[in-house]
């Protein structure tokens, strides 16, 4: 009986190291209405503009709790205000960064519009190889920065930015 109790105690001690893992294979997080300032007087020449945002906390709590194997599969940017489409954009760069550690900045997208895409209303790029952004994603604050170039509108306009990604939520004491 004594040996049995000892075994039970040992087993309970081993079992107390419980673990949890949730595998999210496809999650989309969209930031609506990212404002981009207009460029007065840019009617004939190409100019550049930038915008950045952080996902609102309440909605991204679950997404931010993904803490392992966070991989970006797709980025989509669509016009949501001020402009009918994004055909005026010739190039775009999207990066993910954390203000506290610039070394963790990851480039998500480097886009140059080709002639065949001249009629595209939105920009949607699927990564040939998923980009691992775990280190940046698990930081306390994660920002997305967008830089665009082209014949930009003179008035303010807005876009919706969607990231499609996968990852795992794990917990091990």
């Amino acid at each position: 009986m004594t040996m049995t109790l000892r075994l039970l105690v040992v087993l309970a001690a081993l079992a107390s190291g419980c673990s949890f893992e949730a595998d999210l294979s496809e999650v989309e997080i969209t930031q609506h209405g990212v404002k981009v300032p207009g460029k007065p007087g840019s009617g004939t020449a190409d100019q550049s503009a930038s915008a950045s945002f952080a996902f609102s906390k309440a909605a991204s709590d679950l997404a931010k709790s993904i803490n392992r194997d966070v991989q970006i599969h797709q980025i989509a940017i669509a016009a949501s205000g001020g402009v009918p489409n994004l055909t005026f954009i010739k190039s775009m760069h999207v990066t993910m960064a954390t203000p506290s550690n610039p070394d963790l900045t990851v480039e998500l997208l480097s886009y140059d519009r080709t002639q065949s895409e001249s009629d595209g209303w939105d920009i949607q790029v699927t990564m040939p190889v998923p980009i691992d952004v775990t280190a940046t994603w698990v930081a306390a604050r994660t920002e997305i920065e967008i830089e665009m170039a082209g014949r930009l509108p003179q008035q303010d306009w807005a876009v919706d930015v969607t990231l499609t990604f996968s990852g795992k939520i794990t917990y091990e004491p």
């Binding site: 079992a15 595998d23 294979s25 309440a58 709590d61 939520i169």
Partner: protein, 316 residues
Amino acid sequence: MTARICIFGSVFLTATCLVLGVAAGRDVSVAPIPSDAGAEGPARLFDAGANSAPDLLPVASSPPIDAGSANMQDAAAHAEMRAVDAAGSADASAPPAESAVAVRTDPPSVPVAPSAPGARRVSIDRAFPQQESLPVVTERLAPVPRKRLPLLGVVADVGAPDGLIASLAVRPLKWVRLSAGGGSNFVSAGWRAGVTLLPLVDGISASFEYGRYQVGNANTLASTFGADSSPVLERVGYEYMNMQLGFDYAYHDWVFFLHAGATRLRGQLHNLDSSIRDATERETGTTGTTNVVVRQDPNVKATAPSLKLGLAYYVW
């Protein structure tokens, strides 16, 4: 009882032989039953019959000597044939008959052809060397039946993540208990099957079980514990696998057990989108500018401690 049968049979056969001998006009000698022919007597003679087959002549399997023939030579021939048959049986290691009678005649030896190819030819003298204890009726003692362990039983146990389970149990071996049954985790119905190994029959045990619970609404259970309802809890279901060590204490046909160990859980989370929207609305009052959509319900795996307390009763 055995001794009484021996004595009664001996007296009866002695009288029969005497009558037959007198009727045939031959000298017939009948040995008395040994004084120690109790429970051991027949057994010893029985053993002698097994080792040297002709010593005892099975009666049950042989035709009775017809008193009407009154021919002791025929009787001796019968006896020798029976002895030869008995020898054949002994050679084949056949179990001895339940009773046997040994008869000695004078002249003791009658040439008789073997009843079967390969059978030994045995004389009555060899069959009863130097013994005066004839005839003897032996009765094989019935072996004391061993009490078998009950095979079938019912089990009830409660624990986590098993919930409350009622099972049927089968014990094909004394150190193995198979069980299968159904129950509830207070959210939905489910089933479980498993095997428990008891290397010492009673005491330490090792259990391996697999179970599954259907999808059910866990908000009612959550509200019992004061938790807020959540869309995620509307569809909760899982499968699990237990690996437990424990102690099984048996008392007659009852077995009390306590098992503890680790459980591997697997399931899916549903309605995560609704849960996120709810959280957003509570925080800001309106839907925020960030929207999260979970395109595929996440698969969840967890390893956690498990505990189970139960009672088994073997009914047959």
